[in-house]
């Protein structure tokens, strides 16, 4: 059994062994023995320093021809040749050679100035040529010359990606230091430098990069690293799309109906908007899949500030707009208040509730926030404007529709009005003709009654309502005319409480029912016919009943339009407050029940 401590010791020992081994092979540029940790560091450096937007390192894509210019000595040439020899092992994928002729990697040792000029081609990741400038005093030893040239060579072979400034974390690494003086050469980090160069120049660099990420992190991390910008854009787009869709659905579903200054309704609508804002923020955060406390703090600030904002807007507008401001001035108030409130409240979203931070950041903040605040305020004003316009158009349409309905109702009522049966006139005139020679007085009475009745029935002024008294008078006249025809076969009685006589009644509403009672009831019996018109109060309603002792009402389908018209007329005039009924037993009657206005009841 090996104890844990022992295992640990063994591990440490191994590390130490590898470490020593690395030191031992320090002279070699071969990097096969690079440890796992160093490999990871190297990969992180590659990712951090050399991979830009294109995800391709900026290296020589063609053969590398090296030339020495200027006051170069034989020692320098020897150093370069040695370095190229080493490099050939590290970068087997390029032909690297020393030349006096045409070259793309030039060391100019003229001492005029220091530095490196690099020309790249249009792709942005391929070095066209590089010229290095440096100066050596004549007494500089070979070791130092080789170190400087090594530095320049390595730095020439790969350029940092623009804007990338990560460090390798390995002190003395050639890719970390600002100048050749700081690098350690030769040192244990040379395998590290070599590993980086070898990897960057490998034909299957992309493949290696991917494998490394997938192996050590995950495929997802690889994708995130590779397509960070695309993901950023995609999630931004997704956020915008989701927010827009949600907002549209909410608007269509009527979530933003006028709140009528109802605080709860208004806040509910505000919460919908805040929820959309939170969703949008989440979408932005998802792109790097790393929500930390700072993000959550921002979110919290966002929610609190938004709540504060909508309530400030609510109360400010309530005070300013409840008086009934409309049109452009209303929109102006909406816009100004939104702008003002957002300008005030937007600070804590970013900086929390620290007054110091807010004051410190004011100039900075307005530059970045003003377009946002302006567009939100304008958007809100526009939405309210369109909503108001839409509402006023709807209102107008409603009014028009109501007017049309009223006209149609009037036309329907007109068509449902009772018309006097011409037979009645023929029969009455026949009676007058027969009375004329025998009973002048009765004839006169009859002719006048007929005149009265038609005056009422023709209704030249198209009056819709008459008092109950007028209607009952017309009915009495009608019955008297009919009594001349029917003689003893027709007896009638009209009962009405005097308090009801002033109640308005639709013109000729009752008379057709009386006419029906004669036509279908009494005219079918041979003697002692009896009709009674009775007006009584039924609970809160006016009960009108016409009794007769004639033929019973039929069962089943009804022909003709008389009774049907009467029902439709009261339905149009009174809605469901009026009703109609008939009974055959114990007494035969047909009845109407009409609503009475309260003040009319009180008059009794």
């Amino acid at each position: 059994m090996v104890s844990f401590a022992e295992t640990f010791k063994i591990k440490e020992m191994k590390k130490l062994l590898i470490f020593l081994l690395l030191i031992g092979s320090a002279q070699s540029l071969l990097a096969e023995e690079l440890g796992k940790d160093l490999q990871r560091t190297a990969w992180n450096s590659i990712f951090g320093k050399f991979l830009g937007e294109t995800k391709k390192p900026i290296i020589f894509r063609n053969d590398i021809a090296v030339r020495l210019d200027g006051k170069c000595s034989a020692v320098d040439s020897a150093c370069i040749v040695e370095l190229i020899q080493d490099l050939k092992v590290v970068i087997p994928t390029r032909k690297i050679y020393f030349t006096d002729d045409e070259a793309n990697l030039i060391f100019n040792i003229n001492g005029e100035h220091h530095g490196r000029i690099t020309a790249m081609d249009a792709t942005g990741y391929s070095i066209h040529s590089t010229q290095n400038f440096c100066e050596f005093q004549s007494d500089v030893p070979k070791e130092v010359r080789k170190k400087v040239l090594y530095y320049m060579l390595c730095r020439s072979l790969v350029e940092f990606s623009p804007g990338k400034s990560g460090t390798t974390g390995i002190s003395g690494c050639v890719f970390d230091e600002k100048g050749p003086d700081d690098i350690r050469y030769p040192n244990i980090d040379r395998p590290f430098d070599s590993f980086i160069l070898k990897t960057l120049y490998a034909d299957d660099f992309q493949e290696q990069f991917k494998n490394y990420f997938v192996k050590h992190a995950s495929y997802r991390m690889y994708l995130i690293q590779m397509y960070h910008n695309e993901l950023d854009n995609a999630f931004l787009l997704l956020g915008l799309l989701l927010s827009t869709i949600l907002l549209s659905i909410l608007i269509i579903k009527g979530a933003f109906k006028p709140h009528q200054w109802n605080w709860l309704v208004y806040n509910k609508q505000g919460l919908f908007l805040i929820a959309i804002g939170v969703l949008y923020t989440f979408c932005l955060g998802w792109s790097d899949l790393s929500f930390d406390d700072k993000d959550l703090g921002n979110l919290e600030n966002l929610i609190i500030s938004s709540l504060l904002a909508i309530n400030l807007i609510f109360f400010a507008e309530k005070v300013l707009l409840k008086s009934g401001l409309a049109g452009i001035s209303k929109i102006t108030v909406n816009f100004s208040i939104t702008l003002l409130v957002l300008a005030i409240v937007s600070f804590p979203v970013r900086y929390g509730w620290s007054l110091e931070a807010i004051i410190y950041n004011i100039p900075l903040r307005y530059n970045s926030l003003l377009p946002y605040i302006l567009s939100v305020s304008l958007g809100r004003a526009l939405y309210i404007f369109i909503n108001d316009r839409y509402k006023s158009v709807i209102n107008q349409k409603d009014v028009e529709l109501a007017q049309m309905n009223e006209l149609q109702k009037q036309a329907e009522l007109q068509s449902l009005r009772a018309r006097i049966n011409p037979h009645f006139l023929y029969n009455a005139l026949n009676s007058i003709a027969s009375l004329a020679t025998t009973d002048p007085l009765k004839t006169e009475k009859m002719a006048l009654a007929l005149s009265d009745f038609f005056k009422y029935a023709i209704n030249r002024e198209q009056i819709q309502f008459n008092s109950l008294q007028e209607e009952l008078n017309a009915i009495r006249t009608y019955l008297e005319i009919e009594k001349v025809r029917f003689g003893d076969r027709l007896n009638f009685e009209i009962d009405c409480e005097p308090g009801f006589l002033d109640i308005p009644i639709p013109q000729l509403l009752i008379q057709p029912l009386v006419e029906n009672a004669i036509k279908h009831g009494l005219s079918q019996i041979t003697e002692n016919g009896f009709i009674k018109v009775s007006i009584v109060q039924e609970e809160q309603k006016l009960g009108i009943r016409i009794y007769d002792n004639g033929q019973a009402f039929p069962e089943g389908p009804l022909p003709g339009f008389g009774i049907r018209n009467t029902q439709e007329r009261i339905a149009l005039l009174y809605g469901s407050k009026a009703s109609m009924n008939w009974e055959n037993k114990p007494e035969k009657f047909i009845g109407l029940s009409l609503p009475i206005e309260n003040h009319e009841l009180n008059q009794q």
Binding site: Y426, A433, P559, I563, S579
Partner: protein, 263 residues
């Protein structure tokens, strides 16, 4: 019942009966006929149909002034129920269909209010034509007339709803469905009403507008949207309502539906 004694039994005089349920109408006719004492011998006045039938049987008049609209029996029914057949002159208020029937069959008629000239013309016609009453012909015309008269159009069905009555418009009814003892009315507003009429009687009264498609279904023809064939000699009838109701016809009604819908 007024019965006059014959004053003179001259063969040329027409023993005349007046039948009208309205006193003034009788008075007027009597007075106008009194202008022709040598032609008209008034033997009685009947106040309603039953009385008229009895008087015809007992008095056997030659001439009858007959009102059509009378309580009890109407003018036509009186004639149908009488063995004796006098010459008939109908007296009636304006009735489009009756007048048309009389005109096309040369039956004499007088329209109220009665004018003296019209009476004179009728009596002159009696003399010149010496019209013998053709009882069979008259009855045939009456039958014909009664058969032809368009029944008054059915417009609504009264439905009791508690203490109120509703008149459901015929055109608003989608269909009737018989369930147990009751018939349910399905209206276009999606409402249903119960009524205690039989489907058979409804079918008879509404035959031109409604179609029986099942033992328990009577549907409004004007509300049919579509008829599709279905297996087993049946049809699926789609109703033109908001609920897109579908009704299945009965096997026994296959031929009827086919014929009426001209499928």
């Amino acid at each position: 019942m007024h019965v006059y004694r014959p004053m003179d039994s001259l063969a040329t005089k027409y023993r005349t009966l007046i039948a009208d349920d309205e006193q003034p109408a009788r008075d007027r006719l009597r007075k106008l006929l009194a202008e022709y004492p040598d032609k008209i011998e008034l033997i009685g006045e009947a106040q309603n149909g039953m009385e008229c039938r009895e008087m015809i049987r007992h008095l056997k008049p030659d001439l009858l002034f007959l009102d059509i609209q009378m309580p009890g029996l109407n003018g036509f029914e009186v004639l149908q129920q009488s063995d004796h057949s006098p010459i008939v002159i109908f007296c009636t208020a304006f009735d489009e269909f009756a007048l048309k029937a009389f005109e096309t069959n040369s039956i004499d008629y007088i329209v109220k209010p009665v004018k003296p000239e019209r009476i004179q013309k009728s009596i002159e016609k009696l003399d010149t034509l010496k019209v013998n009453s053709d009882r069979e012909g008259l009855l045939r015309i009456i039958d014909n007339y009664l058969g032809q008269t368009p029944k008054k159009e059915i417009t609504s069905i009264p439905v009791k709803l508690g203490d109120r009555m509703l008149f459901v418009r015929i055109e608003d009814i989608l269909y009737f469905s018989a369930e147990d003892k009751y018939v349910t009315i399905y209206s276009k507003e999606g409402k249903t009403y119960l009524c205690n009429l039989s489907l058979k009687s409804l079918e008879e009264k509404l035959e031109d507008k409604f179609l029986r498609i099942h033992r328990s279904l009577l549907i409004n023809v004007s509300r049919i949207k579509e008829i599709d064939k279905y297996f087993g000699s049946r049809f699926i009838v789609k109703i033109d309502d908001s609920g897109q109701t579908k009704l299945t016809s009965g096997r026994n009604y296959y031929e009827q539906i086919k014929e009426i819908m001209e499928i």
